[in-house]
C-alpha cells in the first residue's frame, strides 16, 4: 500500500510540533518579553490551545498515532477555530486599521490564531490520509533526535509562557483580563484579578439579542396619560377615514405623494400598494419576494421619493420601486411574488447606522427640503434610547444621527425617558419630524436642525398607529386596521401649509446596484 510509514509520520509531526512551538507560541512569548505585548484572556486561551495541540503531537511522537491523540488534536483545532472566530468577530467589522492590539504581516493575532488552528487541521488530515494503516502499533516509541529537540523546545517555550502568565495573570484563582496591561517585571505594576471576568449573566447573543418588533402591533400602554411626558396638550381626532382598497395583510405604513395626492401603503405580508387619492382604488400592487437577496423582513416604512417608492423594513433594509409602463415583467419575476404589472425594482439594500446599530425601526420618512430619508429607532430592553437617523437620498448613506434633546417646554416625569415611546410612523414637513408613537398614543414633533423634541401632543382614541402621512394642514394617522385618524398638523408653519415642490428623482439619482 502506498503512503507514509509511521516512522516518517512521526518525523513530519516532530517538525510540525517544532514549527508550532517556535512559531506562533514562541513568537508570542518573545513579543511579550521583548516588547511587553500582553495577551487578553481570550488570547491566552487560544495560545494554550496551540500549546495543547503541540502537546498532543508529542503524545503521538511517544505513543504512536493513536485515535485518542489524533481526536484530541481535531477537537482542539475545531474549538480553537471557534475561539478565533468568536474573538475576531469583535473586530473584523470595524473600519480599516481599527483592529485590536498589534498586527503582524497585515493581520492581528486573533486572525493568526484562526489561521494556525485551521492549518493544523489541514496538516493532520493530510497526514492521516497518507498514513499506512498497517503501520500503527501500540507501545512506547523512542523519540529520536528530532523528537528530543521538539520535546526540549516545547518545555523551554512553555516554561517561558508560564513565567509570562505568572507575571501577567498571577497564580490561581487570578486569571487573564479583557484589556491586559503591557508586560512588566516590576511587581508594583502587576495587576492580578479575577472578579472582572465573572461579572454579568450568561447569554448566547449578548447585545445582539434584540426582539423583533411587530410593525402592526406594539405591546404597550396606549393611554397618553401614562407616558413619560407630563401634561401634554390634546390633539383631537377631527375625522376618520378608511383605506377602502383591499390589502393583503395588516397595514404597516402609509405615505402620501404631495404632487399627485396618491398614497403608498405597505403591509406585513410584503405587500406594496399605490392607492388613489381617495384610498379606494389600487393603481399598482406588488408582493415583494423577501428571500434570496438582502434580508427583507416585515415592511414598516413607506415614502415617496419623487416618482420612486421607498419601502423600509424593520431591519433597516430598503427597496426602491418605480412605476414604469415599460417594465419587463420577465425581468421583475425575480423581485416580486405577485405584481399588477408596470412596476420595477431599482434596488434593494440596507441602511447602515451607528447610534441606532442593533436597533430595529418601524418608520420611514422623506425630508424633501434636505433630500434625506429619516428613520427613528425602536427601543429594546438592551438598547433603551431613541435615535433619529438621516440618510442622504442620493447615495442612501448615513448623513446624521442624534438622540433628540428635550425642548424647554417639555418635561419628563421622574426617571422616565423618551425611549419609552415606540415610533411606528413618521413624516417630515418644514424641517419638523412628526413621529407617532404607538406607546402612549403620542405625537412627537422633532426639529431636525436643532435635534430637539420641541412639541408633543396626546392623541386619545387611536389604536395601534402604524403610519403617518401629511395632507396639507392635516396629519393622517394610519392604524393597522386600515382606519385613518385625521388631526390638525401642529408646528411652526401653522395648520395650512402650501405643498412644497417635489424633488424629482431621475435614474441618475438612484445609487448603483448593491
Amino acid at each position: 500500500m502506498n503512503g507514509i510509514s509511521e516512522a516518517r509520520l512521526r518525523t513530519v509531526l516532530a517538525w510540525a510540533v517544532i514549527l508550532l512551538t517556535a512559531g506562533p507560541v514562541g513568537m508570542a512569548v518573545v513579543l511579550g518579553f521583548a516588547f511587553g505585548e500582553s495577551p487578553c484572556i481570550m488570547c491566552w486561551a487560544q495560545r494554550v490551545s496551540m500549546v495543547l495541540m503541540a502537546l498532543a503531537g508529542l503524545f503521538v511522537l511517544r505513543y504512536g498515532p493513536r485515535p485518542r491523540y489524533l481526536g484530541t488534536v481535531v477537537l482542539l483545532g475545531a474549538w480553537g477555530t471557534f475561539m478565533a472566530i468568536r474573538h475576531s468577530a469583535l473586530h473584523l467589522a470595524r473600519d480599516v486599521g481599527q483592529g485590536f492590539a498589534a498586527s503582524f504581516f497585515g493581520a492581528h493575532t486573533y486572525v493568526w490564531s484562526w489561521v494556525v488552528h485551521f492549518v493544523v487541521l489541514v496538516v493532520l488530515a493530510v497526514l492521516l490520509i497518507l498514513l499506512r494503516e498497517d503501520e500503527v502499533e501500540k507501545g512506547t516509541r523512542e523519540l529520536g533526535r528530532t523528537g528530543r529537540f521538539a520535546m526540549g523546545l516545547f518545555v523551554v517555550v512553555v516554561g517561558a509562557n508560564a513565567l509570562q502568565a505568572f507575571v501577567s495573570t498571577g497564580p490561581p484563582p487570578f486569571m487573564g483580563q479583557g484589556d491586559p496591561l503591557r508586560v512588566s517585571w516590576n511587581p508594583r505594576n502587576w495587576v492580578w484579578t479575577f472578579r472582572g471576568e465573572l461579572r454579568g449573566a450568561v447569554t448566547l447573543r449578548g447585545g445582539w439579542n434584540i426582539p423583533k418588533p411587530d410593525p402592526a402591533h406594539v405591546e404597550a400602554d396606549a393611554a397618553p396619560a401614562g407616558g413619560p411626558l407630563a401634561d401634554l396638550p390634546v390633539l383631537p381626532v377631527q375625522a376618520w377615514e378608511t383605506v377602502g382598497a383591499p390589502l393583503d395583510g395588516r397595514l404597516t405604513d402609509l405615505a402620501r405623494d404631495p404632487a399627485t395626492g396618491r398614497f403608498l401603503a405597505v403591509t406585513d405580508r410584503h405587500g406594496v400598494y399605490v392607492l388613489d387619492a381617495a384610498l379606494t382604488a389600487v393603481e399598482h400592487r406588488v408582493m415583494l419576494d423577501p428571500g434570496f437577496s438582502v434580508d427583507i423582513q416585515a415592511p414598516a416604512g413607506a415614502a415617496f421619493l419623487g416618482d420612486t417608492l421607498v419601502v423600509g423594513t424593520i431591519n433597516k433594509s430598503y427597496l426602491l420601486i418605480r412605476p414604469d409602463p415599460a417594465t419587463d415583467e420577465g425581468e421583475e419575476w425575480r423581485h416580486f411574488l405577485e405584481t399588477s404589472g408596470g412596476m420595477s425594482e431599482l434596488r434593494r439594500s440596507r441602511f447602515a447606522t451607528v447610534r441606532a446599530r442593533q436597533m430595529y425601526v418601524s418608520s420611514l420618512a422623506y425630508d424633501r427640503s434636505a433630500h434625506e430619508m429619516v428613520t427613528v429607532s425602536v427601543p429594546s430592553p438592551r438598547q433603551r434610547r431613541m435615535v433619529v437617523s438621516t440618510f442622504d437620498a442620493g447615495d442612501f448613506m448615513l448623513s446624521g444621527e442624534f438622540l433628540p434633546r428635550l425642548g424647554p417646554d417639555l418635561a419628563l416625569g421622574g426617571k422616565r425617558t423618551l425611549a419609552e415611546y415606540v415610533v411606528t410612523g413618521a413624516v417630515v414637513e418644514d424641517g419638523l419630524l412628526y413621529a407617532i408613537s404607538a406607546a402612549y398614543s403620542t405625537l412627537l414633533v422633532i426639529d431636525l436642525a436643532a435635534k430637539t423634541l420641541v412639541e408633543a401632543y396626546a392623541v386619545p382614541g387611536i389604536e395601534q398607529p402604524v403610519g403617518l402621512a401629511s395632507r396639507g394642514g392635516e396629519l393622517l394617522i394610519a392604524q393597522a386596521d386600515g382606519r385613518i385618524a385625521v388631526v390638525a398638523r401642529p408646528g411652526r408653519a401653522g395648520p395650512e401649509v402650501a405643498e412644497p415642490a417635489v424633488t424629482e428623482v431621475g435614474a441618475g439619482a438612484v445609487p448603483p446596484g448593491s
Binding site: V48, L52, L55, V158, A162, P171, F174, G176, R205, G207
Partner: protein
C-alpha cells in the same frame, strides 16, 4: 489560572518525556488542561457565547 494551566502542561510534557509508562496519567492531565482552557474562554465570553455578528 493560565499560569496553573501551563504548569499542568509542563508536568504532562515531563511525564511523556521522562516517565512514558505514566501514559494514562499524562493523557488525563492533558484532558484536564483542555477543559480548563475551554472554561477560561467561556468565562471570558459568557456575556455573549456566540460571535457578535449577524449569524
Amino acid at each position: 489560572m493560565e499560569f496553573l494551566n501551563f504548569l499542568i502542561i509542563l508536568f504532562v510534557a515531563w511525564l511523556v518525556w521522562r516517565r512514558p509508562e505514566r501514559e494514562r496519567l499524562a493523557f488525563r492531565l492533558m484532558v484536564v488542561s483542555c477543559v480548563l482552557m475551554a472554561l477560561m474562554f467561556l468565562i471570558a465570553t459568557h456575556g455573549a457565547l456566540l460571535p457578535g455578528v449577524n449569524l
